[in-house]
């Protein structure tokens, strides 16, 4: 009989106690797994979506709103900026690239983004099918959009007004799908991308009363914002100040705004982490009490094992074996529950077409969970194991 087999049998000789300890440990570990999985995926998504964007220029308002809307497509824009501003930005020698973003419509909840080819190239996205647009009213759809809406090349659809489903449908100006992007793990996966002129055309067709009115609108064309990359890091010193003080626009730095957002979220995360820590600590204490009681209850049995020739270390290993089993099982259950919970949250969020969070991934940070499981279980078992190590056979002989 192997020591671990024997430990397993001893562990389950107290099924209720073992199950409760397992549940407590698993709950703590599931909470930690969930926090790790969500944190890692959010950071990855932020990093990926933010990559190469030094500053976002848009209408004055909340800078965080501008970033959440323009980079992550999670919020509504604070307003629009004149198209002429884009030309001026492009002429600015401090800037390496300026990508216009025009928002206003959606198709079944997925945002339709008017932009240039630069936007697709910026995220390094590649086409799974078709081509990029070469004319107005042609769209390229992200991988998630294509999968969830079943969109195929050549298919047409009409966008609806607003950034969430349910607005007025622009039935007179349908879009045609000319390309489908491969999944890139970036915000592009959940966007419908088209030329900026498409957004203008849809809205001008929708609102213009006559040709003259249309001409006026063409002169007053706007975009929602511009994603900008500096030519040199030194631009970060002067460019935002210039925009914020000398124009009707605002410049918001994504890195700064996101670190501000994360620090705000950090309080909630810390509370959750503390809660998970308390759960783990409670579980560790519970395991300790269970094993300590087991040693007290089985003192004579353990002494008999000494009498049968088992070395003290072998007897202590029995107790550690029980802790190892608890650690291994709780790590498995905790990880499974954490993954399931993350997948569930991801599913719910995906329905809202927002963040890309899912289960069944294994970032290196997740190794912390089994490490914690074994550490807590073994720490809880150390004193009981020492008690087992020191068990006296004379007590058995004198126990008449």
């Amino acid at each position: 009989m192997k020591t671990l087999t024997l430990s397993w049998r001893y562990l389950w000789s107290r099924p209720l106690g073992a199950a409760l300890n397992l549940l407590l440990l698993s709950l703590g570990l599931a909470s930690i797994s969930f926090l790790l999985l969500v944190g890692v995926q959010l950071n990855r998504a932020f990093d990926k979506d933010l990559a190469g964007i030094d500053v976002v220029v848009g209408a004055k308002g909340s800078p965080m709103q501008l970033i959440l809307c323009g980079v992550f497509h999670l919020d509504v824009p604070p307003g629009n900026i004149p198209l002429s501003a884009i030309a001026k930005l492009r002429a600015n020698p401090l800037l390496a690239s300026v990508i216009p973003i025009s928002l206003g419509d959606n198709y079944q909840g997925f945002r339709i983004v008017g932009t240039s080819h630069d936007y697709v190239e910026h995220y390094g996205a590649t086409l799974a099918q078709g081509k990029l647009w070469d004319d107005s009213m042609q769209v390229v759809v992200g991988a998630t959009v294509a999968r969830k809406l079943g969109l195929q090349l050549g298919q047409t659809f009409a966008g609806s007004h607003g950034l969430s489903a349910g607005g007025h449908v622009h039935g007179d100006t349908p879009y045609t799908v000319v390309g489908i992007l491969q999944a890139s793990g970036s915000v592009l996966d959940r966007l419908i991308v088209t030329d900026t002129t498409s957004v203008w055309r849809v809205h001008e067709d929708f609102t213009a009363l006559d040709d003259e009115d249309r001409k006026v609108m063409e002169q007053d064309r706007e975009v929602t914002m511009a994603l900008i990359r500096y030519r040199s890091p030194l631009a970060a010193v002067t460019f935002p100040r210039f925009i914020n003080s000398s124009t009707e626009m605002q410049a918001a730095a994504p890195a700064y705004e996101i670190s501000r957002l994360l620090s705000m979220l950090g309080l909630g995360t810390s509370v959750l982490q503390a809660f998970a820590g308390v759960l783990l600590l409670t579980a560790g204490l519970s395991v300790f009490i269970a094993l300590w009681s087991a040693v007290r209850e089985r003192r004579a049995d353990l002494a008999l094992l000494r009498m049968l020739g088992a070395a003290p270390a072998r007897i202590a290993a029995l107790l550690l074996g029980e802790a190892l089993w608890l650690g291994a099982l709780s790590a498995l259950l905790g990880l499974a529950a954490g993954q399931a919970l993350t997948a569930l949250i991801g599913k719910l969020l995906e329905l809202d077409n927002t963040l890309l969070i899912g289960g069944l991934i294994w970032p290196p940070e997740l190794w912390l969970v089994p490490a914690l499981a074994f550490a807590v279980a073994l720490a809880a078992a150390l004193l009981p194991a020492l008690g087992a190590y020191r068990v006296s056979v004379l007590e058995l002989l004198q126990d008449r």
Binding site: K2, R9, Y10, L305, M307, L308, G309, A310
Partner: protein, 225 residues
């Protein structure tokens, strides 16, 4: 065989226990008796190499004990000593066969189901192999505990109060089984007991002399057998 000379053991802060000398051949039966506190448990612990003697010499099954390292003493005990405690201490978490497997585990040996089955059969409890201790009668449990003690064919069997709390009939059966098993294995049998029935129940030699060596301990030091 068990040989002792001027064997002594001292607990810290207590008067030393001096044990009478003994010279018993392999296969003999030793009746260890004496009042509570006279050192029976300590004598058993000395013979099982659980504690080292403070003085004197002790030879068990051809091995002189004393100065043996603990790891070596554990290994020696596993293959040399079989122990039948008064409270049987069958593990409630394990079935009968697994309880016997404990002896192999304790000795660091691989589990040998055939040997376990043969040992249980020899003690007429082979059919109980899958039962839990809670499903055994008192007599069955004692047979299982004896099977555990003799599984590794020890050269010395230490039986601690094997007839305590048994009625006359059960005590006689238990002694007969113990004696028979020890004889079958050629093991030296040590019975530590308060029970006066034990001496009367042990078979005599063909010569008519008692079939056991009496080792009587007393609270005062230096009493002989």
């Amino acid at each position: 065989m068990i040989r002792t000379q001027r064997l002594r053991f001292s607990y810290p802060g207590a008067a030393p226990l001096n044990f009478p000398d003994l010279d018993a051949d392999q296969g003999s039966v030793i009746l260890l008796s004496g009042p509570s506190g006279c050192g029976k448990s300590t004598w058993l612990a000395l013979v099982a190499a659980l504690v080292p003697a403070s003085a004197g010499t002790l030879e068990v099954a051809g091995t002189t004990l004393g100065g043996m390292r603990r790891v070596a003493a554990d290994a020696w005990r596993a293959r040399t000593i079989g122990f039948l405690p008064q409270k049987l201490h069958l593990s409630a978490a394990l079935n009968v066969a697994q309880n016997l497997g404990l002896a192999q585990w304790a000795a660091g040996l691989p589990e040998d189901p055939q040997r376990i089955a043969a040992c249980l059969d020899a003690l007429d409890v082979g059919q109980l192999a899958k039962r839990l201790p809670s499903q055994l009668s008192g007599g069955q449990a004692q047979r299982v505990a004896l099977a555990r003690a003799v599984l590794l064919a020890p050269q010395v069997i230490l039986a601690d109060e094997p007839t305590a709390s048994l009625d006359d009939e059960a005590a006689a059966a238990a002694l007969e089984l113990l004696h028979h098993t020890a004889q079958r294995l050629g093991a030296t049998l040590v019975i530590a007991t308060h029970d006066a029935r034990v001496a009367a129940r042990l078979p005599s030699l063909p010569s008519g002399e008692p079939g056991y060596r009496a080792l009587k301990l007393s609270r005062s030091s230096g009493d002989g057998a």
